[in-house]
């Protein structure tokens, strides 16, 4: 079976003034359908950059990125946006909810960019909020929710489009350990339902819960334990 995601010789350089900074030096990686991967490494090791490239939020300087049979290495904005919208779901450390939107509208927003009608958006969003246990919080804005609740809303938002892959960048980074555990448990449930999950973390306790852990250092993969 061909891998879901196949990265070959991915490099990412930034120009800082006159000097070039190589964040990803030469990364090749295959992700299978149904993987639960944690990307671990010190800050500056390139794990978030790698996740952003997988998420089409950033573009590699060189190398090849295949998703199933789609080549995303040189894809244009239209193709990348559509890919983000239909295939990926993001969960961030900072939750990244729109502050003046209610929980329901935050979740429903992900469907807006698929051109889905308002009533369908809302019913699907409510369904997902129920799944993460926040149905009664639907009309609350993020400032009225706790950290854990906010992260649940953002997980609901990531799932509402029924994506193939969930990309989570330090999803527990801003949460206490008990809340972290419940979030990880939620991600595990999602994984068990068939989603592929790639999770960036520097918390080894969290990393160990994944089936596969990839260690990064100075822009390179140093260890890949399955």
């Amino acid at each position: 079976m061909s891998p879901l995601i196949k990265l070959t010789s991915i490099k990412k350089d930034y120009m800082i003034g006159q000097s070039q900074l190589s964040v990803l030096k030469n990364v090749s990686l295959s992700v299978e359908q149904g993987d639960f991967i944690s990307l671990v490494g010190a800050s500056g090791s390139g794990k978030t950059t790698l996740l952003n490239i997988i998420g089409c939020l950033d573009q590699a300087s060189s190398g090849e990125y295949l998703f199933e049979t789609i080549n995303l290495s040189q894809a244009n904005d239209k193709k990348r946006s559509s890919f983000r919208s239909h295939t990926l779901g993001f969960v961030f450390q900072q939750f990244n909810l729109i502050p003046h939107y209610t929980a329901l509208n935050n979740v429903a927003l992900a469907l807006t960019y698929q051109g889905i009608s308002k009533s369908e958006r809302e019913s699907r969003a409510l369904c997902l909020l129920e799944k993460v246990g926040l149905k009664d919080r639907a009309t609350h804005t993020p400032s009225e929710l706790s950290g854990g609740e906010r992260q649940r809303v953002s997980i609901a938002r990531a799932l509402v489009t029924n994506p193939k892959v969930i990309l989570a960048d330090e999803p527990t980074g801003n949460l206490d350990s008990a809340t972290s555990q419940s979030i990880i448990a939620l991600l595990k449930t999602i994984h068990n339902e068939g989603k592929t999950i790639i999770l960036v973390t520097h918390d080894m306790g969290v990393a160990k819960q994944a089936k596969r852990t990839i260690y990064m250092k100075d822009g390179l993969i140093v260890e890949d334990s399955k």
């Binding site: 946006s81 983000r84 919208s85 990244n96 698929q114």
Partner: protein
């Protein structure tokens, strides 16, 4: 696919609602500018029509020809008289085809008496064409005709004020009026004429409603062939000055260059009025344009600030699948909504000012819809122009960097 415009408008309204004070202040510049366009437009059109309505009471094509009384050089004596005789003008109309109507005028101040009331009038001895030259309208009865003139009928046509003063309660038509020492039968009353504005700027000192018209032939019989001046109407305003010059040449030749003549033509006043109105509307136009541009810069400012503040939101939206055009449309729509709302408020505000002015001035103002359309179009344009740059900037944000923005 790009998301439907309805959704974008909804999103834009949402973000504008969030920053009410800022939105309102940003709109202020455009509101003032648009209201300015409306008021200036209305005042301009109304002012122009007011002035031209009054100029029309003299006739746009009207020319007056008088003797020039300044002494000729190298002449020790000055001839007496007006230098114009009634028979001078008899063949003029045939000789100069650009004359449409021409009348000799003899003017006197004379007391008119009726029913024991007396009123000082400006008695005009004229022919039957006078009514056409100054665009006079009859209130009742008729004007002098050829037969009145030929047969020296003692008939008169009176101005509105004369009728009001001497016949306050009954119709003057058919009544006898004693003017000086001659009795005239009133055959017509003229409609009231308004020259208030021209009077207020000193361009017309005589009361047009205090005139009294009698046949020129009566003056010829009484005072001889000499008349005071010629009043004529050229076939067009553009021909008025040439016509006047032709008449002057003709008169000089007929009188062996004893007299000099000069003319005044309404055409000259029309030209100056147009020139002044032109300058005024340019100046006002420039000030309003500046106001709109400044307003537009204000909108651009606010939109730029709004984009910078919401870089993270842009990142979030992009991570959820928003395309560059979706982000561009969202911010451009905000800007267009902002300015078109400001435009509408400006139009309403301008309309209110015009209404208040109308009540204050007590005259109906001309309200051209084209200015409403123009104002709205300008505000839309300002919205597009001042929103385009921030919206482009927003849409070009790299989502990975935007998401990290705090």
């Amino acid at each position: 696919m790009t998301i439907p415009i309805k959704e974008i408008i909804f999103m834009s309204l949402e973000s504008l609602r969030l920053k009410k004070l800022r939105t309102g202040l940003a709109m202020l510049g455009i509101i003032i500018g648009v209201a300015g366009i409306m008021v200036i437009g209305v005042m301009g059109t109304t002012g122009k029509s007011l002035i031209f309505d009054e100029i029309k009471t003299f006739g746009f094509e009207t020319v007056w020809i008088y003797r020039k009384t300044t002494p000729q050089k190298g002449r020790s004596w000055e001839p007496k008289g007006s230098g114009i005789r009634h028979d001078d003008i008899l063949s003029l109309k045939e000789d100069i085809p650009s004359i449409r109507w021409i009348t000799p005028v003899v003017e006197e101040k004379e007391w008119a008496h009726s029913n024991g009331v007396e009123h000082l009038t400006r008695l005009h001895y004229v022919n039957e064409t006078f009514i056409h030259i100054e665009n006079d309208q009859l209130h009742s009865g008729r004007f002098l005709n050829k037969t009145d003139i030929m047969s020296l009928r003692r008939v008169c046509v009176i101005g509105h004020d004369v009728a009001q003063k001497l016949f306050p309660s009954n119709s003057p038509i058919g009544e006898q009026l004693l003017v000086g020492n001659t009795f005239y039968k009133v055959i017509g009353v003229l409609k009231e004429k308004d020259r208030d504005f021209l009077k207020s700027i000193g361009a017309s000192s005589e009361n047009p409603n205090g005139r009294l018209f009698v046949p020129i032939s009566i003056s010829l019989q009484k005072n001889g062939q000499e008349i005071d001046y010629i009043q004529l109407s050229a076939s067009s305003a553009d021909l008025a000055i040439t016509t006047a010059k032709q008449v002057i040449t003709y008169l000089k030749d007929r009188h062996q260059h004893i007299f000099d003549y000069h003319f005044s033509a309404m055409k000259n006043y029309i030209d100056s009025a147009n020139r002044i109105l032109g300058i005024v509307s340019w100046m006002l136009g420039i000030s309003v344009t500046i106001a709109i541009v400044v307003g537009g810069i204000g909108i651009a400012n606010i939109m730029t600030i709004s984009v910078i503040e919401r870089v993270k939101e842009i990142g979030i939206r992009k991570s959820l699948g928003a395309r560059d055009p979706d982000i561009f449309n969202q911010f451009l729509t905000e800007s267009i909504i902002l300015t078109s709302c400001a435009g509408l408020i400006g139009i309403i505000f301008g309309g209110l000012i015009i209404l208040i002015l109308m009540i204050f001035i007590g005259k109906p103002l001309l309200f051209p819809m084209s200015f409403v359309a123009l104002s709205f179009l300008i505000s839309l344009t300002v919205g597009v122009i001042s929103g385009a740059f921030p919206a482009t900037w927003a849409s070009k944000q790299n989502p990975a960097i935007a998401l990290r923005y705090e």
